[in-house]
């Protein structure tokens, strides 16, 4: 779960990392109030997507009139598909240098790494690899100021800035550890006359740690349909094509999408229905698939712990309960396959055993192919 910049900065501030003076507001009048007493201000749209600056989500203002004007423009704006509901109004700082500083987890090293670069302010993906310092965290000692000083030296910092930087690094690591973060990022980290100030804050808290990190407000990141799926425990990603896909397990779902694409089809979504196969879950999953208005639904079940007869029973029941308005291609194989196919046959549904044939059929149907008796239709 990502935090908004202002929430990330509040978190930084609580841990003693300096942030610019300012406040988050949700109307232009409050923006003007906050800006009084500050010289020049910067107005920053609070959205989670990256490349906010390039999309026009950051504006500088030097008079109350400008603050009101720009705040009015930003609020309600759509930025990369996200509506701006809040803006952060902050003092504009005199800066000497911009640094990039982040802590994330490196899966291949199996530990956190500190990433730092003297080329702050840019998108870090555009910074050449050799200009990024990557420092694996020693898990038995954590981060001592000495580590921060050495990284500071490698960045080319001098004098007092080295110890000030080390202080930021140790504090940022504390934020990372205490908030169960997957990522904490300050880009840019400003070096000013009086020391370092966090110009931005990106914090991603591990969803799996939510049970012990409840103070963070849940932020919705996905599309309405993705959020709806998440609320009922389904892993769902919208992809924009016309063949809705449901399978059981992340790997097989991905492989199903790949197969559909291989045969020239276009997947509408990723939906991992997980291991369960009860009527309620199947029904909810189908509702979500149908909500995206696909041309075909492709259900691919490999029965492991999930039993094909359970899936078949659930599907037959759901079909009786709700109207399924598009053709459904059902593939079923594995545990209790024969039993499952028999249950479907009794209800006039013939399913595929072979994933390849089923995928080809789904693609054919998405192109307006004939829906014959050899599959389950609406």
């Amino acid at each position: 779960m990502k935090l908004f910049e202002y929430a990330g900065k509040e978190l930084f501030s609580r841990h003693g990392i300096p942030v610019p003076r300012g406040k988050v507001v949700s109307n232009a009048w409050d923006a003007v109030m906050v800006s009084s007493g500050l010289n020049q201000v910067v107005l920053k749209a609070q959205v989670l997507s990256g490349k906010r600056g390039k999309a026009g989500g950051i504006k500088f203002a030097s008079s109350p009139r400008e603050v009101e004007l720009f705040a009015g423009q930003l609020l309600g704006l759509e930025l990369n598909g996200n509506k701006v509901e809040k803006i952060l109004v902050e003092e504009k700082l005199e800066i000497q240098q911009e640094i990039y500083l982040a802590i994330t987890v490196d899966g291949s090293l199996r530990r956190p790494v500190i990433l730092a670069s003297s080329q702050g302010g840019m998108d870090i993906e555009e910074v050449p690899e050799e200009r990024i310092i990557k420092w694996p965290v020693n898990l038995s000692t954590g981060i001592f100021p000495s580590v921060g000083r050495e990284i500071g030296r490698l960045l080319g910092l001098q004098g007092k800035a080295i110890t000030q930087f080390a202080d930021i690094v140790t504090k940022l690591f504390r934020v990372f550890a205490e908030s169960d973060a997957e990522l904490v990022e300050i880009n840019p980290l400003f070096l000013c006359d009086k020391g370092f100030v966090a110009g931005d804050a990106k914090v991603t808290v591990d969803d799996d740690a939510y049970f012990r990190q409840k103070e963070y407000p849940r932020v919705t990141e996905g599309s309405p349909l993705e959020e709806r799926a998440r609320s009922i425990g389904l892993s769902y990603v919208e992809l924009g094509g016309d063949i809705a896909i449901m399978a059981n397990g992340a790997g097989i779902t991905m492989a199903t999408l790949d197969t559909i694409q291989f045969y020239g089809g276009s997947p509408a979504n990723f939906l991992d229905a997980g291991g369960g196969a009860n009527v309620e879950q199947t029904s909810k999953a189908l509702e979500i698939l149908l909500a995206a208005n696909p041309k075909v639904i492709f259900i691919n079940i490999f029965g492991g712990i999930t039993r094909c007869d359970d899936v078949a029973n659930a599907f037959v029941q759901v079909k009786k309960m709700q109207e399924i308005t598009v053709p459904v291609v059902l593939r079923m194989s594995g545990t209790n396959e024969e039993l499952g196919l028999k249950i479907l046959a009794k209800n006039g549904i013939t399913a595929y055993r072979n994933m390849q044939e089923a995928a080809i059929k789904a693609v054919e149907l998405s192109r307006g192919g004939e829906c014959n008796g050899n599959l389950c239709c609406s």
């Binding site: 899966g107 291949s108 799996d208 397990g249 790997g251 097989i252 991905m254 790949d258 029965g303 712990i305």
Partner: protein, 290 residues
């Protein structure tokens, strides 16, 4: 032979009285797994399927020689459970639990590795030595003793592929589920090295997916060292960057872990990459004949 767990390895089940634990204990027993003890704090003295239950792992280890553990403990307590198993001296830890906080995973994997224990997982279907030892949640019917070693990041893909091998009469030596999370105890390279030393294993299947660099690291090793024939299948070709496809590890982030990059690295190491998963059995057959 087999890797990590022998066919007759003595296994303890942590969380044996829970829903998942008791269900999968029955499944593992019917597979033939030699489960000698269970652990469930506060339930010491009880029995599950005739297996004695202890309050702590150490108590179980006092009474039995234990080679491996199968952990079905809820995520908030999984770190504690792994540390307990390591402290009791168990060397192979099947951590089946999913949704363990990332920071806990880093700690449990680090602790186990420093103590010389192997963590399979977390968030894995487990590990199966087809001749008779299943630790985890894989369906029993797809495994038959044979010459193929399997290393995988995905449960359902493994069942599909191992099942299709079996349909062609090809069995497996050991099938290892690395786990779907960003940090896991084992990566492709660790397991590849083990299979390379294993007499029974004649060919190796890598089942990978987008995200991370584990496939690339294995490819680099294969390119520079003599390794048994390797066939790979990778899921996620059609996945857009920045979207997490179910597994926490399956996300293309900061340009790392793309499908194209993995295929390139593997092909440069002379690993055959199956484009579709149904092609895997034929590629394996060819390896076994030659």
């Amino acid at each position: 032979m087999a890797i990590y767990v022998a066919h007759n390895a003595q296994v303890v089940v942590q969380g044996i009285t829970g829903n998942q634990g008791s269900f999968h204990t029955r499944q593992m027993l019917s597979f033939g797994t030699n489960i000698v003890a269970g652990v469930s704090p506060g339930k010491g003295g009880q029995q599950v399927e005739g297996i004695p239950v202890y309050d702590t792992v150490a108590a179980a280890c006092e009474q039995h020689q234990i080679d491996a553990t199968a952990i079905y403990i809820p995520a908030p307590f999984a770190l504690d459970a792994v540390v307990e198993a390591v402290d009791a001296g168990i060397k192979v830890i099947g951590c089946i639990t999913e949704h363990i906080p990332l920071h806990d995973e880093i700690r449990l994997v680090d602790y186990a590795r420093r103590q010389g224990a192997v963590v399979v997982g977390p968030n894995t279907f487990g590990i199966v030595t087809s001749r008779g030892c299943k630790i985890g949640v894989a369906p029993n019917h797809v495994f038959k003793d044979g010459p193929v070693g399997v290393i995988s990041r995905s449960g359902t893909l493994t069942y599909e592929i191992v099942g299709s091998l079996l349909a062609q009469g090809i069995g497996t030596s050991t099938v290892v589920g690395l786990g779907g999370d960003r940090v896991t105890g084992l990566n492709f390279l660790d397991v590849l090295r083990e299979f390379n030393q294993d007499d029974q294993t004649k060919a190796i299947i890598m089942i990978g997916e987008i995200g991370g660099t584990s496939e690339e690291e294995a490819a680099e090793y294969i390119r520079e060292n003599p390794v048994k024939p390797v066939i790979a299948y990778l899921a996620g070709k059609s996945a857009p960057p920045g979207k997490r496809m179910g597994h926490a590890g399956a996300i293309i982030e900061r340009g790392r872990g793309t499908f194209a990059n993995k295929v390139k690295a593997l092909e440069a190491a002379n690993v055959q990459v199956a484009e579709l998963l149904f092609e895997v059995p034929d590629l394996v057959k060819k390896c076994l004949i030659s």
